[in-house]
């Protein structure tokens, strides 16, 4: 497998075929919670892309240089990663608020929410402990591969979220039968979105 080809496959797998929201069911709370507004969805997407890239880098470094060499990874990876992500998000929030007020305005309010966004932890753990998310390409990522993978996951999250927000601008105003109005219908819609994503299963042998 060529270098470029491998990056491409990692990216495509993370983006489409194992889409973190619709195929892997991770981070659904935020997906249903904020998709009723397009602006919020876009802000959240930006924030997630940013936080994910940084936290994956951190977890990759921690695992490969600290946890794994010391042989304590299996016991400690959960608390360590989540702690790192939570503290990083807090630091970042303070940092952005001071240095970049416009950026803070755009995504500041989403940052605290991201701590409990399981997608961030999932991606961070996957790049450190491959196989975590049961993708068929799973091996020890190099740092660039970890970035490509994380970027794919984050973009997949954003794509699904923004598509869903656009769809909800239609479905939310449709005369849906009473008991299904609102969230139940959002789930039914997601079922069909997930169905559309399933169509990509098996692409490039992924």
């Amino acid at each position: 497998m060529g270098e470029v080809q491998r990056y491409f496959l990692i990216f495509l797998g993370a983006l489409l075929i194992y889409n973190i929201l619709l195929i892997r069911f991770i981070a659904l709370c935020s997906y249903f919670g904020i998709s009723n507004s397009m602006d919020t969805s876009i802000g959240m997407s930006l924030a997630v892309i940013f936080v994910m890239m940084v936290s994956s880098t951190l977890s990759w470094g921690l695992w490969n240089y600290v946890l794994a060499p010391l042989g304590i990874g299996e016991f400690l990876y959960i608390p360590v990663f989540i702690f790192v992500i939570a503290s990083f998000v807090q630091l970042e929030e303070m940092f952005i608020r001071k240095t970049a007020p416009t950026l803070y305005k755009a995504m500041g309010i989403y940052l605290p929410l991201i701590t409990t966004n399981c997608a961030v932890l999932a991606a961070a753990t996957e790049v450190a402990k491959p196989g975590f998310l049961k993708m068929s390409i799973a091996y020890n990522y190099t740092l660039p591969e970890a970035w490509v993978y994380t970027f794919g996951v984050a973009l997949g999250y954003s794509a699904a979220l923004i598509l869903f927000a656009a769809i909800r601008e239609r479905v939310d105003f449709a005369p849906v039968p009473g008991p299904l109005r609102g969230y139940p219908m959002a789930f039914v819609t997601s079922a069909l979105m997930s169905l559309a994503f399933t169509g990509f299963a098996g692409l490039f042998g992924l």
Partner: protein, 371 residues
């Protein structure tokens, strides 16, 4: 000279184009007619059965849903629903397997006819706009001719109830109902949906593979040999894939009648041709084979689930064509039309949102017109 007092006062405009939703749906049915009739000839009773069950069940689903939703005739509707589920199963269990579809058709038709009539109070019970018939027919056309009878039956329920009515009825669904049904049927009963092809008018009674499958596995070396049969009488494939030529005739009629516009079919097939050249596969074969023509002309052009603006339609068509070829060439499955269109259905609201035409006189500074 009539004085005042009994004049009708309505809002403008006071003249209307003669087109209605019903007239459009009738034209779509007419467009599908040549291929459907030819399929009935080629596949005989098995093809006719699938088409009949699919269309009648679709109409039945529409009537029952509307009755229950509007709370009219609730009792008789429930009775009809339960009996058309229970009786065929009973007949089947009694060992009269072949009579089951006949029983289902008879029961459902009786109910549809009784609901279509005029009630004793003189009011119209249910008005059909033809959209359910179109969905039912399209569903039948994407099924293999030898599927068990209950596949189109269940499929029509999925298409009308889950694909359309649950979203609020005609016009509100996001995904093409017939394709939703097909995708769910494929996921549920892959064995039935990927076999049951028919060898038409030929030597073998049945064949286990479609030309696309043969091309995928490399079993068919000379693809040019398939051009003529694909155009006229496809050796193996779904009911609606019997003849690319007849589908194109129907499509041309719809274009001429201005039911559909050129953008989606042309860009869909065009993008497929370009993509197949880039991927190094035979473009003519891929345009004729499988559901490409049926999808590009009749499925992707479904008003409800495709973009409304011209620019949006072009984006939609190109993406559909590209994804179809991507899936056909690089995924395990031989066909990609269903998945490609469903995927693009999902993207349609976003396309519509971002291809809003520039209002007259508005000078757009950069992108976005949000205030």
């Amino acid at each position: 000279m009539a004085g005042g007092g009994n004049l009708v006062v309505t809002v403008s405009p006071h003249i209307k184009s003669p087109e209605t939703t019903g007239s459009i749906m009738r034209l779509v049915l007419l467009g599908l007619l040549p291929a459907t009739l030819w399929a009935c000839v080629l596949f005989g009773i098995s093809g006719i059965a699938v088409i009949a069950i699919s269309v009648i069940t679709a109409l039945f689903c529409e009537v029952t849903w509307h009755n229950l939703r509007d709370g009219k005739g609730t009792g008789r509707t429930w009775f009809a629903l339960v009996s058309s589920l229970v009786v065929p199963i009973g007949v089947s269990a009694a060992g009269l397997g072949r009579a089951a579809p006949a029983a289902a058709i008879a029961l459902m038709s009786a109910f549809i006819l009784s609901e279509a009539g005029i009630s004793r109070q003189g009011e119209r019970r249910h008005s059909f706009d033809g959209s359910a018939a179109v969905t039912g027919l399209l569903l039948a056309l994407v099924l293999p001719p030898l599927v068990p009878w209950w596949i189109p039956f269940v499929g029509a329920f999925i298409a009308i109830w889950l694909g359309k009515e649950i979203f609020g009825g005609l016009g509100y669904n996001v995904f093409n109902p017939a394709l939703v049904a097909r995708a769910i049927l494929v996921l549920s009963w892959p064995a039935h949906l990927t076999a049951g092809w028919f060898r038409s008018l030929g030597i073998d009674a049945t064949s286990k593979a479609t030309p696309l499958m043969l091309a995928k596995t490399g079993a068919a070396a000379d693809l040019t040999a398939y051009y003529a049969p694909l155009l006229l009488n496809n050796p193996g494939g779904c009911i609606g894939e019997v003849s690319a030529f007849l589908l194109l005739v129907g499509g041309a009629m719809l274009l001429w009648k201005r039911v559909i516009t050129w953008e989606i079919p042309v860009t869909y097939l065009g993008a497929m041709a370009v993509a197949s050249v880039l991927m190094g596969v035979d473009p003519v074969f891929h345009l004729l084979a499988g559901g490409a023509v049926l999808g590009a002309v009749f499925m992707a052009t479904d008003y409800v689930t495709s973009p409304v603006s011209s620019r949006g339609k072009i984006v939609f068509g190109i993406m559909c064509g590209a994804i179809t070829m991507l899936l056909r060439v690089y995924s395990k499955a031989p066909e990609g039309v269903t998945s490609a269109i469903l995927f693009m259905n999902m993207v349609t609201p976003l396309i519509d949102r971002s291809t809003m035409p520039r209002p007259f006189g508005v000078v757009r500074a950069g992108r976005g017109v949000r205030k």
